[in-house]
């Protein structure tokens, strides 16, 4: 029996995603973002998080989903991976669940239009909830961003 992990659950559109709780530093409400010129459109800019300047990414934009208006529910999830601190803008985040690692399956080839390499797996919770586990180091992979640039350029 594998161990239970705690997972922060957040939403993009109708889909639910999960990030392991130990990679999440805080969850913040929307705050003023300073635009950084000459970067990718999904990089929304930088915020002042209690004196630390942190870049913020719109996760919808990162995954190529159409960006949405920010609402009361919109949250910035601050994660720390590979010594990088980054904020993710998500539609909402309001759940923490215990997940048994056995419940996570390898991701199917196509899930909701997001490339499979961004995913660690898919977990089934209860009868009809699917939780998509994010592979944070892929999401924040800078090499891929460089590639993206040359494609756009």
């Amino acid at each position: 029996m594998a161990e239970d992990i705690k997972v922060i659950v957040f939403k993009l559109g109708t889909e639910e995603y999960g990030i392991e709780v130990d990679k999440v530093q805080t969850i913040e409400r929307m705050m003023p973002i300073t635009r950084v010129p000459k970067t990718y459109s999904f990089i929304k800019g930088v915020i002042n998080l209690r004196g630390v300047v942190i870049p913020v990414i719109d996760l919808r934009g990162r995954f190529g989903i159409e960006e949405a208006e920010h609402t009361d529910q919109t949250r910035i999830i601050i994660v720390a991976v590979n010594e990088m601190e980054v904020g993710f803008i998500v539609d909402s985040a309001n759940d923490v669940i215990d997940l048994n690692q056995d419940a996570i399956d390898t991701p199917p080839d196509v899930v909701g239009g997001i490339k499979a390499k961004y995913l660690d797996g898919v977990a089934k919770i209860g009868e009809d909830r699917l939780l998509i586990m994010l592979n944070l180091s892929e999401v924040l992979n800078k090499n891929e961003i460089v590639q993206l640039e040359s494609l756009e350029g």
């Binding site: 300073t34 950084v36 010129p37 000459k38 004196g51 870049p55 601190e85 924040l140 961003i145």
Partner: protein, 687 residues
Amino acid sequence: MDMNQYLSMFIDESNDHLQSLNESMMGLEANPEDLSIVQVIFRSAHTLKGMAATMGFEDLASLTHQMENVLDLVRNNKLRMQDFIFDTLFKSLDALESMVEDITGGGEGKADVSAIVASLQAIVRGEIPTAAGAAAASAAAPAAEAPVFLDEFQYSVLEQSLQEGHKVLYVDVAIRKDCQLKAVRAYMVFDLLERSGEVVKSFPSVQDIEQEKFDHSFSLYYITQKEASEIQAMILNLSEIDKVTAVALDQESLRQMGQDTVAATAEAPAPVKEAAPVSNASPASAAHAKEDAGKPAPARTGGAPSRTIRVDIERLDVLMNLFSELLIDRVRLEQLASEVQNTDLTETVEHMGRVSGDLQNIVMKLRMVPVDTVFNRFPRMVRDLAKSLDKKIDLIVTGAETELDRTVIDEIGDPLVHLLRNAVDHGVEGIQDRLAAGKSDTGTVNLRAFHSGNHVFIEIEDDGAGINPQKILQSAIKKGILSQEQASSYSDDEAIQLLFAPGFSTAEVISDVSGRGVGLDVVKSKITSLGGNVVVYSTQGKGTNFSVQLPLTLSIIAAMLVRLGTEKYAIPLSSIVETGIVKQTQIRSIHGNKMVEFRNSHIPLVSLSKIFSVPDYDESTEEETEIVVVRKGERLVALAVQDFIGQNEIVIKNLGKYLPEVQGISGATILGDGQVALIIDPNAFIK
């Protein structure tokens, strides 16, 4: 005792001692008769040895010990300092330095110093007949090599054993040359001996023997009840033993072997009894130092007790971070107070402003380090360089106490090394050339540091041949950096600055030291990246002066805040020449580039709003545009902005690891209202 907590102290102190050793040695070299300097050197070496031994760094301790032996002869007028002695001692210092470096890097400070040890021993042997020969003869020690030397503690143990009626044997064991596992054989000998007595001291040390660091034979002092012949027979019974001689010592022969050769081992509290692997086990170390054994290493050599404490730099960084938070809050409070218009509040905030201003000064000062920490390695470097180039050079250091922020100090070392090498190698002429030019045979290199305004200048000036601008121009043309016509329009001064052009070198023969011009572009870009500048002045026949300008600190800067639509940006004040307003009609278009007139010349006008695609501002719709003229070296550019907000001290923050390098942006800062403003890197707009 947990040594780890003392390790950083040990490293710091060792570096201090090494530095003072280096300095004193240089002083002694200039003044070889001054025995008081030898005393200083000796004390420093002795302290270092004691510290190293206490910390268990045996290689370090034993090498220092050998140095001490030589120094002791010198201070007792038994040996005159000569060139090769200096060289050997300097080499020893280098070896010690690399050991300490190894320890700093988490290593054990081990190094193969046998060659240096051998030459140190040779120096000791060469000048003074060692007591070894006599002792060996009287003790009838069979081997030709000298007996093992004892420190005071070991000597007294042996002496006492004799008085108590034990036998003290000097045993020499040779293992057969074809023996495969000589360490194992040696171990068996020790094992056998330990059963019927005690080994007090062996050469090589037990540790070295265990690591097979010996040549088929070893000797030891042994306390037992058995007869010498008995022991001899016992050892011979082991297989693969070639020869054993065991000689019983009496008081007299022990004294002869021991007393003259009592080694100065301040580290004696180390576990001596188990045939101590401590430092002084070497065949011919005629140690004459008679320091008190077991004396604790003094913290500092002489002088008044230091009124400073060492602080972990990380703690200072934390303090700095916290302080920048405070600074941001202060500005925010000031804004709020000016909105609220409450006198009491305003006064309190003003007071807080003054206090935090003072606090800021102090925090900044805590991070200030004298440039001496960089300069101190230069005298030695110049000495070695001059020697290898066969030149005579005086290095004159002034202003070493000038202070710079540690962040700048950390970065400035390499560029300075480069410039100094350059001055020594190419600046100062060889002795013959100097005499031919009617100068004294000794060249002078001045290394100066001084404050001026908000900057620190470091100058490296030589009185050498100077730089020939024509040669530089020719070389630049040859390398395709300039066209013939361009070159003709260059003034001499401009030509000399070409030294900093990428890929430039005027050295006809590139020596192993440096080529004049080689890598100067790297020096320049390094200094520029620190927010500094470097220029060179040269007069042919008189010399060359490299002048490096550096900012006092890198973490807090004065900046001009500007507005572009709803966005705010900060422009470092250090690169701003002036601000102004230009009318739309004054903007000209030359080859499709916008230019404005500035002091009788035309400089490019850069539209920040276009480059940064600012959504809600475009200066071309306005009649008048505010401009900020910024400078990079000699070149100027005007940046068009919407409004000036004002001048402010800002704390530089980086944009984090995730963001790719953003063109034109060098960092971010947090404004009084909590908003993040980006810091503009003016250099990026000047090509």
